[in-house]
Amino acid sequence: MSGAARRYILHMEDHANDVDIALLKDDPSALILRHQVTIRIIVKRFIESGMFQASEFDDVVQHVNARLLEKLPRIRAQYNGLSLFRTYISSIIRHECLDLHASRESDIHTERLLADPPNPESANPDNRLLIEHDVKVFRAIIRQFHDEMPKLLVCLKLVYRIPIEPKDILAWWPGCPEPDRSAFLNAISEGGKSLPARERFALLRPIANGADNSHSSADSVRHWTDDRIHVILRLLNGSPPTSSHTPETLGILLEDFFTPFLLHRQYIPGETDNNDTA
């Protein structure tokens, strides 16, 4: 490492990303050394997910190191400096692990994991950590729906029979007339929750059409919701699958989203960015 780079690092201890960028320019090998912890954390996660065996840990870490060394010129050329380097290199490490897994076709471990799904209600501390991790991932998935999020949350509440509040409707349709809002909320609270999904979505139809300025059928909104439930489940389970979430476990995560009991964080309708320190 050059003296200039070392001096630069000493003065930039609190600016980890600037240090990364300086090393990428001046001493890429030192940069890879600096990210050994990141590599180890990611490989460990892949082992926890069953994609590699614990005994392969060092081998996989060294494989990633070797690939990163090979790729350094490309990384220097392609990294555009707009994201944190730590996140960027994590993406590369992840792809290296996925590629290695694909080349080995070690599906046996995945099958074993799928045969033994995590129990969200278990008091086991390890499982507890897994649940907390899944809660964070679920929240991250929901936020990727961006401006569809308020609609999605109302529809998910309807599917999972979670009480819908006026603010949920207003987050989706800020201009929703009070009579329409009250009519729907009254209907859904007075026995509406016991209705089949199709009829519950029929109650929602006027709100959905008003909010989206459309003339959709109740079935169309229900199918839209079902489609997103499947997307969320696929995202939660990963590709290749490393979890075994079902519509039931999704319901638990959703309940926690509105009334946190797994992690501390309150969803506030209308807010896209909450103080969820991930």
Binding site: D14, S29, D59, N65, T87, A140, H146, D147, T277
Partner: protein, 254 residues
């Protein structure tokens, strides 16, 4: 929502680049999704492929704390020149310090004529008795220094057995080591690189000069990054594959 700077976030096939996915994960980690470029937000909203990419990466980093990363290169970027880079600040600081130093020197020179006397070096001036308050270097006890030198020297003494083994292993044509060269001075971060006709996995064993195993690595690649620190000294390393000794080399650890 930022609408500028979005061109670097999409691949030709329309999906997010690694930078784009990384930026989205940064936003999720830092609770700043609202500041993502509109094009990125809109694309991810409807693209399951990119959602999977973002979610997969986020999942790996979900439990990591993003503290002390400094200003974010995108979210905290100033539309004007981003920031004065530290090296520039250092140069400015250096000029100021130099100017002060010259000023002090010019001020003190007339009062210290002995400095300019011929035959008196600056070193002599620095160690003169009038430098009260300056820390003076105390010579270490000769015995301790000698012991230390001996210990250090012992760590660099060659091992006759391993030297012989190294010379004999070099006759092997099946394995070609590109780095490190025999006797190369290396440090943490050194890269071992080889090609071999032996089938992986390989085992790389690092020994000290007394033939004691210090580290053992297993790898399927033909490259290995020395990620551990080791005491300065002479070390030998063995490469094994298919249960056979493929190569023996030596390195000087700084």
């Amino acid at each position: 929502m930022k609408n500028e700077h979005s061109e670097g976030f999409f691949r030709p096939d329309g999906h997010l680049t690694e930078d784009g996915a990384a930026l989205y994960v940064d936003a999720l980690k830092l609770d700043r999704t609202g500041e993502l470029p509109g094009t990125v937000l809109e694309h991810v909203k409807t693209c399951e492929t990119c959602k999977a990419e973002v979610t997969g990466l986020f999942s790996l980093l979900a439990d990591e704390v993003y503290a002390a990363t400094g200003p974010h290169p995108f979210f905290d970027a100033n539309p004007h020149p981003r920031r004065v880079t530290p090296p520039v600040l250092y140069r400015i600081a250096a000029v100021i310090v130099a100017a002060i130093g010259i000023g002090v020197l010019l001020y003190t020179l007339p009062h210290r004529p002995e400095v300019s006397q011929p035959g008196k070096s600056s070193v002599a001036t620095r160690s003169a008795p009038d430098t009260v308050g300056q820390p003076t270097e105390q010579p270490a006890a000769p015995t301790k220094a000698a012991e230390s030198r001996e210990l250090m020297a012992a760590r660099f003494t060659e091992s006759p057995e391993l030297e012989d083994l190294m010379k004999s292993s070099l006759r092997s044509a099946a394995t070609d080591v590109q780095s490190p060269a025999i006797g190369a001075r290396v440090s943490r971060g050194a890269v071992f690189r080889w090609t071999s006709s032996a089938t992986p996995p390989y085992e790389l064993v690092v020994l000290d000069n007394r033939d004691r195993v210090i580290r053992t690595y297993t790898t399927s690649a033909d490259t290995l990054l020395l990620s551990d620190s080791m005491q300065a000294g002479l070390y030998y390393w063995k490469l094994l594959g298919e249960g056979n000794l493929l190569y023996v080399g030596k390195i000087l650890m700084r």
